[in-house]
Symmetry: C2
């Protein structure tokens, strides 16, 4: 048995290691074009930001390691030129010697990864326009910073890498301007959650240009001006392009291997392609959604590891199968943490779900124990009561909550299940009712107990349409005076029991407080008094206000 | 509808609030003997340790709050003397005026909580022997510390409260001696996990006396000597007794209400007692295990809140039902975090499960990102492959992992399910494969893929019995020379492929490395080479060494 793997980063090396664990006798070879192998792509921004001091921390495993530990031969700087699936053979070129040779295989694993998208604009390939994807490129950025001592940078794209680079370059004292094509940062989030990230970026003195695109990178030999669609010109000492990645599939495509989502290699749950004995895994391979079961392309190191292990198991006689992903993502932005899993509201609506949305604003720990507020936006399916996805923006404890949600959604949790979780409670770690539990309670009340929620966006639409609704601000008068929903009347919570008698019970009523809890209490009182249709604003005035940029 | 609740801390106030949310018109009254209501019992150690500065942070909600927000009348300093379940009436005494009156109810909720166990030994009720259970007692401890400036304290009992008090008193500069009846600290943990806590306590200069009991507290008017069963005498400026709690059930018992586990009030999933219209919730009520479905008494604020909400829902027309607990617990000990959920190995064996045990030693984050090692002991059911429980000792990220395990176990996760979780990965939060995922992989390999584990305890038993086994230390020679399992031979991992030929394939072989990963690699090689029975030491030499106190 001869197993050949193309690519020696996360997917390829995981496949090799797993195959060896299963089969002591197989011959296992890996070819990789690059010099560095098995590196942590996700660590690159922190290497540039000097959070990771030692380059070897990024590439702890070299070819020798794989030989010694797994009896796997890794050939670096070897480019596979061609896959002949009929003869089961590869044409391989040694990039150092230019030797070209043929290599046969019994089982082939393609783990060619992904590459940065390079826009088709003037200057895109200039030497101070960087595309962070591997250690070599990270080295170049580090070297540029050391040599040129740049004072400013434009970062194009506000996905995870763009914002991680924002933090790391800012920490080096470089002034940052973010350019984003969309009208919001972090395209993966719903816009009503992205506003929190934008506000925080402003507080960190990060310049942002939203809803604009780069059309030209000017300057010779080095780019020093970024020209936008709007005509705006930004002076900049260098540019980081982080507008996304695309799978490396040229080799597979030429070999007649079928492609799928985003042009990635189509695979089944065994990671097998349409061609027998040819497998694919990692950033070049297609994934699928645990929720919708539809193809999904979300390249990430943790997924590449899973896929690699499965491919390695399959080519060595195992039966491990891929179960899909939720599209979980997380990133740190200075002291902020942003995380998401499952479907956003936008995605859920596109998939045809009838959604129920809540914005739950809660501290991760008691305030007396330095708790910091997070906003959890949860999306549920009104018809099944199942949780579809969450987005969380906060400071501490965000990673915990998203992982609990990941686990719950994976097991098909309904919103009412969350309340019953016996989560670990002590003041240094959580509130008595964890934010996850509150999220479940709010959604359960909305879906199963007639305590309906309305998002700020939905409320504004109702008002704009001229619907005749009563909006009640249930906060104390002082808070109402400071700022309130335009059409709202002020009935502090303590007075609602009495004053409700003066209101029209047939009209639609919307209640709100600061974050949602007292608004819900007011809603309860009105419903119990016979009001026909009462909504509470999801996330209260705090969320409403955040939406009015 | 008149709802009367006895007790105004976690369970009682939760019940009242939920009942009001459901029913605007019910009359709701709460009686409580104490002056302070609705306080955070779990915050008390941190109030004493001055982590919580403001007493009001512990008791944020007073009677006025409940009247204003929920239209609930809270009567403090009112003792219920008697429950007459036939007439549906209570006899109540106002402790300030000594007035006694009768109060009728339609629905009654008993939420009388629990009290500290006071041992039957001389001096147990002396004024500087403290039982931390409510704010008044916390005040007394604080006052004692301020007035007497004690230099030393003996803490009896090493459960959560005992160890939380250890941290908080030590932080005030007080020398601590812990006295524990058992031969280990933290009785809730298996002894092979408690060793890590003991080692850490030593590093923090905490004195420990294990396997000994207090027989007398000497000194007048203040205790200054603690006399132990062994004859040992410890000089001490005061004593904290934290040897457990028992439910306050005298009132219920006299009223003919049936009792259950640990003498707590027996309730069904609706929190109803054996008597119609009488409910119980919180620390006085019985819970049950999600796993075994058997009664369980684990009083905790988070559970009291859940039970209270359910009782409140049921007495006001709702249908919320209790789903049991996993017995999740967590505590902070200086920089250490100790958490557990589900069954320990000891409990699982007592329940008759055929267990598979793993000790997974992993950093919570990449080491280059300040990751700190945690030990996860997981207990699985060999026959169903289901996860039964975990115990985790570590520094950062422990609370996250336990909550993910809680969620997985609640949904009936099998060990092989954990690998597939799409947990959030970025270097500041996790390793590419999260410790939870590794735990699942190790257990899956052990249960479903013939990669069996052996615990240090089991290995020692085999050796003591004189079984003829080959023990292979797969670490480099230098590590072997420093310390190794007594009967082990040293075959570094890189040489196992060759040297295996010289070994007897029919004999039982035990492999190990430092933490388990390379030991598993060695195990794979041997199994693939035809060895009949190969175990890998769970947690490797690091775990083995930790067990030899």
């Amino acid at each position: 048995m001869k197993i050949v793997i193309i690519g020696a980063v996360a997917g390829g090396t995981s496949a090799a290691a797993k195959a060896r664990r299963n089969d002591e006798n197989a011959e296992i070879k890996i070819f990789d074009m690059d010099y560095d192998i098995s590196y942590s792509g996700c660590g690159l921004p922190y290497y540039i930001g000097e959070e990771i001091q030692d380059r070897e921390d990024l590439t702890p495993r070299n070819a020798e390691f794989f030989k010694k530990k797994y009896n796997v031969d890794v050939f670096r700087r070897h480019e596979v030129l061609n896959i002949n699936t009929e003869d089961k053979a590869l044409t391989v070129k040694n990039l150092d010697t230019n030797d070209v040779f043929t290599e046969s295989y019994d089982k082939l694993v393609i783990a060619t990864g992904a590459k940065s998208i390079v826009p088709n604009i003037p200057g895109a390939e200039n030497s101070n326009v960087f595309y962070l994807r591997n250690v070599t490129q990270a080295d170049k950025i580090k070297e540029y910073i050391i040599t040129h001592k740049p004072k400013s940078a434009v970062i194009v794209g506000t996905g995870f890498i763009g914002l991680e680079m924002t933090e790391n370059l800012k920490n080096l004292g470089i002034e940052i301007t973010l350019v984003e094509r969309l009208n919001q940062v972090t395209p993966g989030l719903d816009s009503d959650m992205a506003v929190h990230v934008e506000k925080y970026l402003k507080s960190k003195d990060i310049n942002m240009v939203l809803g604009d695109s780069v059309v030209e990178l000017k300057g010779e030999p080095l780019v020093n001006q970024v020209v936008l669609q709007s005509g705006k010109v930004i002076n900049s000492d260098f540019v980081i392009m982080s507008i996304g990645v695309k799978p490396n599939v040229e080799l597979a495509k030429e070999a007649g291997i079928e492609l799928g989502a985003n042009g990635s290699i189509k695979v089944d749950t065994k990671m097998m392609t349409n061609i027998k004995d040819v497998y694919a895994c990692g950033d070049c391979a297609e994934s699928y959604s645990v929720i919708t079961k539809k193809p999904l392309y979300r390249p990430l190191g943790s997924t590449a590891n899973k896929m690699g292990r499965i491919a390695g198991d399959q080519v060595s006689g195992g039966n491990l199968e891929f179960r899909g992903i939720l599209g979980t993502g997380i990133f740190k932005l200075f002291d902020m943490t942003v995380a998401q899993t499952g479907l956003t509201e936008r995605e859920a609506l596109n998939e045809g779900f009838e959604t129920v949305i809540c914005h739950n604003i809660k501290p991760d720990k008691p305030e007396y124990y330095h708790g910091k507020e997070m906003v959890i936006k949860a999306v549920a399916d009104k018809n099944t009561g199942k949780l579809l996805g969450v987005q969380i923006v906060g400071y501490t404890g965000v990673d915990k909550r998203v992982d609990v949600f990941v686990t719950a959604i994976t097991f098909g949790a309904k919103v009412e299940d969350l309340f019953h979780l016996d989560l670990a409670y002590a003041p240094p770690f959580s509130t008595t009712k964890d934010p996850v539990i509150y999220t479940g309670m709010i959604l359960d009340n909305a879906i199963n107990r007639g305590r309906e929620l309305i998002t700020p966006g939905e409320l504004n639409k109702l008002i704009e349409k001229g619907n005749d609704i009563t909006v009640i601000d249930a906060r104390v008068n002082k808070q109402y005076e400071e700022a309130h929903v335009d059409t709202a009347i002020n009935i502090p919570h303590g007075q609602i029991r009495k004053k409700a008698e003066e209101l029209d019970k047939e009209k639609v009523v919307v209640t709100y407080c600061n974050k949602g809890v007292t608004g819900n209490a007011a809603q309860n009182i009105l419903i119990n008094q016979g009001f026909k249709k009462v909504y509470n604003i999801s996330g209260g005035h705090k969320n409403y206000k955040a939406q009015s940029k």
